[in-house]
């Protein structure tokens, strides 16, 4: 069975045809439990997210701030396994028909086996992967297997990326390009700086056809509307995780996720 890279591309193209940005939500698998995580992800999609990135929790999340570290820690202490991540992808996709990606660090996949991981992710209906600590020059093996199984390889670009690197990355990537809005780890921020727009423009200037989606720091509808003004997609992670962490119980957390997705969906349509 082939993965859903085409569904991802179609979803982003449809948003563009509507004259808006796509909304992408990030939530870790296994947080607060495997089933609870699936409910939260389905709520994000029901609430208005076009795409979900499922986090595969890692013991050493060097690119994540305290919010996602806390969630990963809860998931790992709960014993989350890669099989649970695959089930999360499968159920979220089956229930909504929307594209689901996995976001994780490279070591879990390297250890699990690239062929095994890509085959299982495609089988689960996954659309691709974001691997922020796998730079393009180390990615040949991954891309070979991802392509074979119909999965997107989404690379991250950063404000510090030089133009020749942007060209190299957009040439190797597929699905979309993840533009980090600022220099830093995941987490909510007061504002999304001007460097995000500059980075999106520099990425597009490579001549790539890939949509450019912006993540890091976006937490509310106003910010989503601002980013939607210049990007093809808006990625929100820590704000969704906080909905679950701050809620008095899981059911309330799931409803908060649904409500936030609704707000952000308005934001990406310029209705903030």
């Amino acid at each position: 069975m082939s993965g859903n890279i085409q569904l991802l591309s179609d979803t982003l193209a449809a948003a563009r045809a509507e004259g808006r940005s796509a909304l992408m939500a990030y939530l870790p698998a296994g947080f607060p439990t495997v089933d609870g995580g699936i409910e939260a992800i389905k709520a994000a999609l029901d609430g208005g997210a076009d795409v979900v990135e499922v986090g595969l929790p890692h013991s050493d999340p060097v690119l994540d701030g305290p919010v996602i570290q806390t969630a990963d820690d809860i998931a790992l202490r709960g014993g989350v396994k890669i099989a649970d991540v695959m089930r999360t992808v499968k159920e979220a996709h089956a229930a909504t028909g929307k594209p689901i990606l996995v976001m994780t660090y490279w070591n879990p996949i390297d250890r699990y086996g690239v062929e095994r991981f890509t085959a299982e992710l495609a089988e689960a209906g996954g659309a691709g992967c974001i691997l922020p600590d796998l730079p393009v020059q180390e990615s040949a093996l991954w891309r070979e297997h991802a392509e074979k199984h119909g999965l997107a390889t989404v690379f991250v670009v950063a404000p510090s990326s030089k133009d020749e690197r942007l060209a190299q990355i957009t040439a190797a990537g597929s699905g979309f390009v993840y533009a980090a809005s600022l220099m830093g780890v995941t987490g909510t921020r007061e504002s999304v700086g001007a460097q995000a727009q500059d980075l999106v423009e520099r990425t597009r200037a490579t001549g790539t056809d890939l949509p450019v989606c912006v993540g890091l720091g976006v937490s509310n509808a106003e910010q989503a509307a601002e980013v939607a003004g210049f990007a093809d997609g808006v990625i929100v992670g820590s704000a969704f995780v906080k909905c679950m962490l701050d809620a008095p119980d899981d059911a309330a957390g799931v409803e908060a996720v649904r409500a936030l997705a609704g707000d952000l969906a308005k934001g990406v349509r310029g209705q903030a």
Binding site: D60, P61, Q69, D110, Y112, P135, P159, S160, A180
Partner: protein, 428 residues
């Protein structure tokens, strides 16, 4: 290049231009750090070929650090090692008390060349943190040190030293609250502040060029030891022995001996309570290849690639990774790695203290315990050089508790029981 103490690896050897030592190494870093890591590589390459850089670094190594470090023969200690001759390379006598200063001064000069004004570093035992704080005081750089919360407790003296030197010390409360987590936190800081900040990485791990660059700054250890042994013993040693956490002091000692194929290179990993108990940090003995902190190397991990929590009585060796060049030396067979328990290391610490009047760091005591074993294997004609990578002052609280040396608690209780604190210690 006419330099006596900055002696980088001659050109043309490992790593490859991409930073690979055989199958190990590379550069597994977030895109946000690519430009900064590339800048370090370019600047280091320029510095390596700049006689002015070598002159400046040599001057510091002689007049500030106190190089060359002594080579001390320890016959009373060696009497416990089957009669083999043992020499200690005295990196404990360097300014700040360990080998760490060699690398720190090199990278601090590089920081200045890059025009950066702030330095961050991780530390386990605090030796790298103290050395870094020292260099930052010397060069007028802002300094932030990340240290696992558990390590700030067991190495409280070094925390005070760093703060005295003007550094900010941040106790890291995530994960296992030890060295690995301090590195995670330092990476997070670097990603956010990379414009003005250099990450002064303390060991021969991390993304290329750090494993090769840090090795080059420590290479002087083995170059000096080799020359000193030829003068003093008239021949090369049968074995060069060092402790390995991340592996910087070991690679520093080993590297100059790599072409001398008759010299065994023996790294001593922390076995903690015993490798079989699961409470250890013996990465090469019990790990599998994986990616941690920017490079491929042996890693302590589970079957799904989650890093497992290491344990060692020694904060400086309590790390689930290892520099990629050590993985390469292991797999090629050129290096041998064995595991030494907490107890064996502590016994060696006391033995050296009592027989030679030298109190070693607990890290270095792992190498001493290994040398006793190797000496018994070699017999009375054996000749061993051990890297005494650090002094033990920082460890006196841990050692006093372990052996019951305080007047209160353990020692008093032992006295009352009529046994004596030493016997208490012996039983452990």
């Amino acid at each position: 290049m006419p330099s006596d103490f900055f002696i980088p690896d001659p050109e043309g050897q490992v790593p490859s231009p991409e930073g690979y030592f055989g199958a190990f190494g590379g550069k597994f870093i977030p895109e946000a750090l690519v430009a900064a890591v590339d800048e370090v590589a370019v600047e280091y390459d320029k510095a390596k070929h700049d006689p002015e850089f070598a002159r400046e670094l040599d001057d510091l190594l002689v007049n500030y650090t106190g190089r060359p470090s002594s080579l001390t023969e320890v016959p009373r200690f060696a009497a416990e090692a089957g009669g083999a001759r043992i020499f200690l390379k005295r990196e404990d006598l360097n300014h700040t008390g360990s080998h760490k200063i060699n690398n720190v001064l090199g990278q601090a000069l590089l920081t200045k060349r890059m025009g950066k004004t702030r330095v961050i570093a991780e530390t386990g035992a605090g030796q790298h943190g103290v050395a870094t704080a020292t260099a930052c005081a010397l060069f007028g750089l802002d300094c932030t040190i990340y240290m696992g919360e558990i390590d700030t407790q067991r190495q409280a003296l070094n925390v005070a030293r760093m703060r005295m030197l003007g550094a900010e010390v941040i106790a890291v409360k995530s994960g296992s609250r030890t060295l690995k987590d301090a590195i995670n936190e330092a990476f997070r800081d670097w990603v956010a502040n990379v414009d003005r900040t250099h990450y002064l990485f303390g060991t021969v791990a991390g993304p290329h060029p750090f494993p090769a660059m840090v090795r080059d700054f420590h290479r002087v250890i083995g170059v000096e030891a080799r020359r000193q042994l030829l003068e003093r013993a008239g021949r090369l040693p049968d074995a060069a022995v060092a402790c390995v956490g991340g592996g910087s002091n070991a690679i520093g000692l080993f590297h100059a001996f790599i072409p001398d194929t008759d010299v065994r290179l023996i790294g001593c990993e922390p076995a903690g309570h015993g490798v079989e108990t699961g409470e250890h940090a013996a990465t090469l003995t019990a790990g599998e290849p994986g990616i941690l902190h920017g490079s491929r190397s042996y890693v302590l991990q589970d079957e799904e690639g989650q890093i497992t929590e290491p344990y060692s009585i020694s904060a400086g060796l309590d790390y689930p990774g290892i520099g990629p060049e050590h993985s390469y030396l292991k797999d090629s067979g050129r290096g041998e790695y064995r595991a030494v328990t907490d107890d064996a290391a502590m016994q060696a610490l006391r033995l050296l203290s009592r027989t030679e009047g030298i109190i070693p760091a607990i890290e270095s005591a792992h190498a001493l315990a290994g040398a006793l074993e190797v000496g018994r294997e070699l017999g009375k004609d054996g000749l061993i050089v051990v890297n005494l990578s650090g002094r033990g002052d920082k460890d006196m609280d841990t050692a006093a508790r372990y052996f019951g040396l305080y007047d209160t608690d353990a020692a008093v209780a032992a006295d009352e029981a009529g046994t004596g604190a030493e016997i208490e210690g012996d039983a452990k």
